[in-house]
């Protein structure tokens, strides 16, 4: 019962704040802050699902680090309001709207179905021990590949920034 209340509260908050993020095009910082609220609401949903580690990372990485960087860049660039003038966005809005409608129709049949009962969760589900063990034993290769990808991106960013400076 508590789980249902928390889920509906978080889900409602996520939808409202996501809408607020998209509709606040003129105020970029307010839009970014709505994104933060969305992330926190998503973390709440992960908590209901017993995925504690994902919930903590959702807040630490997405809400705490990535969006702070967004806000940092927005404040540094000091974008003027006309940078997001509506006239430039008609085509984008059209495409986005069509895609949204398509997604709605694609998902609608799923809503009518009853979700199957999930398999019983193993001991320590969603905790750092189980996630860590799985990540470093069964999925160690994808993990290392992702690490190298990020390292490459980081080196690339440094090289590009340095060329600009020189």
């Amino acid at each position: 019962m508590t789980a249902a209340i928390v889920f509906y509260a978080c889900a409602g908050l996520a939808v409202v704040s996501a809408l607020s993020m998209v509709l606040n095009v003129r105020n970029t910082v307010a839009s970014a802050m709505s994104l933060v609220v969305t992330m926190i609401a998503l973390a709440g949903i992960f908590l209901v699902l017993d995925a504690f580690l994902i919930a903590a990372f959702q807040i630490m990485v997405y809400a705490g680090a990535i969006v702070v960087l967004f806000v940092f860049v927005v404040m540094l660039l000091n974008l003027r309001h006309d940078a997001f003038a509506p006239s430039r966005q008609i085509a984008l809005k059209l495409v986005g709207g069509l895609l949204g409608i398509y997604a709605l129709f694609a998902l609608a049949p799923l809503l009518a179905q009853h979700l199957p009962e999930g398999a019983p969760r193993p001991e320590g589900f969603g905790g750092y021990r189980l996630v860590g063990r799985t990540l470093y034993t069964d999925f160690v290769l994808p993990f290392e590949v992702a690490a190298f990808l990020l390292l490459g991106a980081m080196v690339g960013a440094v090289v590009m920034a340095k060329r600009r400076l020189d």
Partner: protein
């Protein structure tokens, strides 16, 4: 929510928010005065009684509440009013996972002196801490003032950078204690280990003989001394206090991100800074200074020694009071260290702060993780 949780919550809020935070504002003024050869705050009085100036926090709060709450012209009103709340709330709720006492057995009842003993306590602290950055960032942006904006830009860069290092500096201690729960960390620190035992484990000496009597508490500070220093530096930088107070550097930015705040909204920023000091001290005490434990006197020994005199019920209670008292004594020591640093060191330049983070602390913390892992592999266990 059961009664026990409510009692613990009220207790910790009363101690941290209502007792520690106001007294630290007084300590800060008094200590700066002592270190600069002044007398310091001593005028506020009720009917001529001043109690060393301890009434100043009360006078400050009354003054702040009575002041006009100004929102500057052209500022984003909603965000401007929201920012102090975002800054204060994470500081207050962080204490939920910091244990202030151990586990006590009353018949069938077990009393754990921590509000929420969650398995991922350290991650909770980091998640809460990363949200705290928004308070300063939004405050500076919503004030419609260039100095404030510069202050919050510096604050956001500094807080993101030091969050990375703060996390990595704790990885070593997480490896040693094999847990993310702060309560389990406290339990693990209620013991001793042979200081020179590693000589045997490495095979350098066959038997260390009488030197084995040289035992040290299994406190984080003895197991991870480098981690202790790095975590203290990062935590102080996260709190944006001198020597890391670039975001509010008064000689360059007037007052930085909270320049356009007045009345109790400024008071919230001010208070959250002092509550954060208590939170940092509590974290350091719980993780590195053995939490509530008394060195060389494990809980069973204390209770066993007093039980014949007072009976088990009172013996457990006396042990609990000793533990809670010692925990807050450790917190006070850590607060004192932070205060002394704040009034002895000059402010770093912005580039020095960034160099310290990315070029010194980050490589050191990664080296610490590697060395800790290697040593643990060789030694196996502590005792």
């Amino acid at each position: 929510m059961e009664t026990e949780t409510i009692i613990k919550t009220v207790f910790i809020l009363a101690v941290v928010v209502l007792a520690f935070a106001p007294i630290i504002t007084w300590v800060e003024r008094k200590q700066s005065a002592v270190m600069q050869d002044r007398i310091g705050a001593n005028r506020a009085d009720i009917a001529g009684i001043t109690i060393l100036g301890l009434l100043h926090p009360l006078a400050d709060v009354l003054k702040l509440i009575a002041k006009e709450d100004v929102v500057p012209h052209g500022a984003n009103r909603f965000m401007h009013l929201l920012a102090p709340v975002i800054a204060a709330v994470p500081a207050i709720i962080a204490y939920a996972v910091i244990p202030f006492g151990g586990s006590y057995q009353y018949g069938d009842e077990t009393v754990n002196l921590v509000v929420a003993d969650i398995d991922w306590g350290v991650l909770y602290i980091f998640a809460i801490g990363s949200i705290a950055a928004y308070g300063t960032v939004i405050a500076g942006w919503a004030s419609n003032n260039n100095w404030s904006l510069l202050g919050s830009l510096r604050a956001s860069a500094q807080m993101i950078s030091y969050e990375v290092t703060m996390g990595l500096s704790l990885v070593g201690i997480l490896m040693v204690f094999q847990t993310l729960s702060m309560f389990e960390m406290g339990l693990a620190q209620d013991g001793t280990f042979r200081l020179l035992g590693f000589l045997e484990a490495f095979g350098w000496v066959d038997d260390i003989g009488w030197l084995g009597a040289l035992r040290v508490p299994t406190w984080g500070i003895f197991l991870q001394p480098l981690g202790f220093v790095m975590f203290l530096a990062c935590a102080m930088a996260e709190n944006k206090r001198a020597p890391f107070d670039c975001p509010e550097a008064e000689s360059e930015l007037v007052a930085g991100y909270h320049m356009e705040y007045s009345g109790m909204r400024f008071g919230l920023f001010y208070m959250s800074e002092f509550i954060e000091i208590v939170v940092i001290s509590g974290l350091m005490a719980a993780i590195f200074l053995g939490g509530w434990t008394i060195p060389y006197l494990p809980q069973e020994t204390i209770i066993g020694a007093i039980t014949p005199v007072f009976g088990e019920y009172f013996a457990t209670s006396i042990c609990m009071i000793l533990h809670v008292g010692l925990f807050f004594l450790k917190v006070i020591v850590m607060i004192y260290i932070q205060m002394a640093m704040r009034w002895s060191l000059p402010r770093f330049r912005y580039d020095q702060i960034m160099d310290l983070c990315w070029k010194i602390l980050l490589p050191l913390s990664i080296a610490n993780v590697l060395v800790t892992g290697g040593v643990m592999l060789l030694i196996g266990s502590l005792t």
